[in-house]
Amino acid sequence: MNAPVDVLQHRADAESTYGIIDCDIHPFPKQGALNRYLSERWRNHVAEYGQMTCGIYAGRGNYPRYQPYLSRRDSFPPDGGPPGSDVDFIRRQLLDPYNIAYGVLEPLLGGNNSRNLDEAAALSSAMNDWQVAEYTDPEPRLRGSILVPAEDPGAAVREIEKRAGDWRFCQIQLGTKTFEPLGRRKYWPIFEAALKHGLSIGMHTGGSQASAPSPGGWSQFYIEDHQLGTHSAATQATSLILEGVFDVFPDLKIVLIEGGFGWVPHLGWRMDAHWSKMRSEVPGLKHQPSAYLKTNFWYATQPVEEPEHPDDLRQTFEWIGWDRMVYSSDYPHWDFDDPHLAWRFQMTAAEKRQVLHDNALAVYSFK
């Protein structure tokens, strides 16, 4: 294991005095790369049965996407393998040119969502080993996310305990699509473990397809499903708030990743408007619901909103609070946000520094 590097001290360049913190970088295994981290029993199981998803296909999600590997056409490593599989190419295409001080890895392989809870635990653990061995060790600017089998909170806590002291991990990762709304008590041991170890939770859009993408059912097209992904982030925020998770765990930090953020002000207003009349149903709530959106949540910026009038983007940042916004690129995916070009309004240097750097340090403790 390499020693931790205080990259922030070493990445200053002529253009800025700080390195950027990118909260959403997707590593992807080369064919068979996870096998060496799985026991023989689980290697065989995965080879025979694959991953027990809740979807219609044995090897892919329900909604066919629009780009191979969901990725930028220029992100395929020159030496072969899928986008995100070559740490040297990530370095050359993302970390160096954009002066990324830290990049948070968000593996989206679905293994942690298996209906077979033992498989989910085995794949989560394997993906954790794989992240550190193949990404963080060779490139300590990249930090791993502790994947956990969220539907088996006991096993999830064991995995957290196993990784918590390891500087190569900087958060616990959950998908926004869990089997049940995350605020339900079944999941609370995960939050307790997160707090015990001073870890934030990165909740990346996606996960299980145990529920339809909308209360109205299954959309027909990817163009719908892609936008509906933001709903799973919003509804998890609602669940965590109304179930009283932050009243029991007031210091819990949640980063919502790739869920958009245009909906955040609206959700706060709507929750407050109807809670004011139906608070008798959730009498334990200590604050009005919107308050928790400003104390316990951070919002990763990609895919950035593109209002018809650029002023509205500034207004949205102000409504949410500048201190809540953390930059994410979503590299190597097709809707990558460039840290300098994504915003359709003028940020001051101080505002930009908050979003690209300072705010993330309030969430993550990079060791």
Partner: protein, 353 residues
């Protein structure tokens, strides 16, 4: 207090129990409900005792919310200067698992509305409630009642068996368009799917809050499946959706369409343009905390034609006489109270000069 020209696009007569509806049913269904001892078909979406279902000062002890015409007249029609109001009955028939039972309840409710509300109060109009579980039966119901010009809209719950854009429902939309009836989509669900994208929450409050997401999802479905290409004149009225979800929804719908519109090549117009041309929203609830926010949201929506005045009576959305969101200009208030409803519901013009 507003001028007596206001058109209320969402008012709820309290649908009675099954026993009261029996006279409006066939012998078969009368016998079935009686012999099987069936009642209690009130929707989960609006529990009768829940705060949302009736504003406290409008609640009449021992009665269902909105059950009494005299109360509606004094508490809403007279009080808010309403010249015309569109009744949107919420009934278990709209959500029943059985297609034929659902159709029987819907038909009974429509006939009951005619006798007990429309015939008794000339300011009232109504939506045709249809069994969307069975589009062909829904079309029959539209054809049965369309001759009565006091029916001005076809009403569907916001969550049905399938997403509302699917061609399964197009016969309903075609029948409505043929008769000059917009489609009203009202908050509420058949509960065929979990009420959120991540499963079943513990609280009714979350079910209700998530209705806005449901409207967003249905709007995407309507646009993507191309119903506005097939029926460009058809309007959908989103009733009790909240309003403040529209700006961020429009932004993301445009962005996503620009990125992957090749998947739905028949959608040639920007979603923003389609929404402003074909979608209308009732203004209760509005879901914004203060005047400055309301003003900004109206600017962001950037379409004065989209707003339809509503009380949502007797649902509890506002206090006292604060029936319209604060800070709207007089010109916009006039539009949403009268001009926009008249433009949206062609049949209303037949009685208002």
């Amino acid at each position: 207090m507003s001028e007596p020209t206001a058109i209320d696009c969402d008012i709820h007569p309290g649908v009675p129990d099954i026993k009261t509806l029996l006279p409006y049913m066939s012998d078969f269904w009368r016998e079935s409900f009686v012999d099987r001892g069936l009642d209690g078909f009130d929707m989960m979406s609006y529990p009768l005792g829940a705060p949302i279902s009736c504003r406290p000062d409008w609640r009449v002890a021992g009665e269902r919310p909105g059950a009494r015409l005299a109360a509606m007249q004094t508490q809403a029609l007279d009080r808010f200067g309403i010249g015309l109001a569109i009744c949107n009955p919420l009934t278990g028939g709209q959500v029943a698992v059985s297609e034929s039972m659902g159709a029987a309840i819907c038909s009974a409710v429509n006939d009951w509305v005619v006798e007990h509300w429309l015939d008794k109060e000339p300011r009232l109009r109504a939506s045709i409630v249809v069994p969307a579980q069975a589009p062909l039966l829904a079309v029959e119901e539209i054809e049965r009642l369309a001759h009565d010009r006091r029916f001005v809209q076809v009403l569907m719950p916001a969550a049905c068996e399938l997403m509302l854009g699917r061609s399964y429902y197009w016969p309903i939309y075609e029948a409505a368009a043929k008769h000059g009836l917009p489609i009203g989509i009202h908050a509420g669900s058949m509960y065929r799917y979990a009420p959120t994208a991540t499963g079943w929450p513990s609280h009714y409050l979350q079910d209700y809050i998530t209705n806005s997401q449901l409207f967003e999802a249905q709007l995407l479905s309507l646009i993507s499946n191309g119903i506005f290409v097939k029926l460009p004149e058809l309007k959908f009225v989103f009733i009790e959706s909240g309003v403040s979800w529209l700006p961020h929804f429009i932004w993301r719908a445009i962005k996503t369409w620009r990125g992957v519109r090749a998947e739905v090549p028949w959608v040639k117009q920007s979603p923003g343009d389609i929404i402003r041309a074909n979608i209308r929203v009732t203004t209760q609830p509005f879901d914004a905390p203060d005047q400055a926010t309301v003003t900004r949201i109206v600017e962001q929506i950037d379409c004065d034609e989209i707003f339809l005045f509503s009380s949502d009576y007797p649902h509890w959305q506002f206090e006292g006489d604060a029936i319209t969101p604060p800070g709207l200009s007089d010109a916009l208030l006039q539009r949403m109270r009268a001009d926009n409803p008249l433009a949206t519901y062609p049949r209303l013009k037949e009685t208002v000069s």
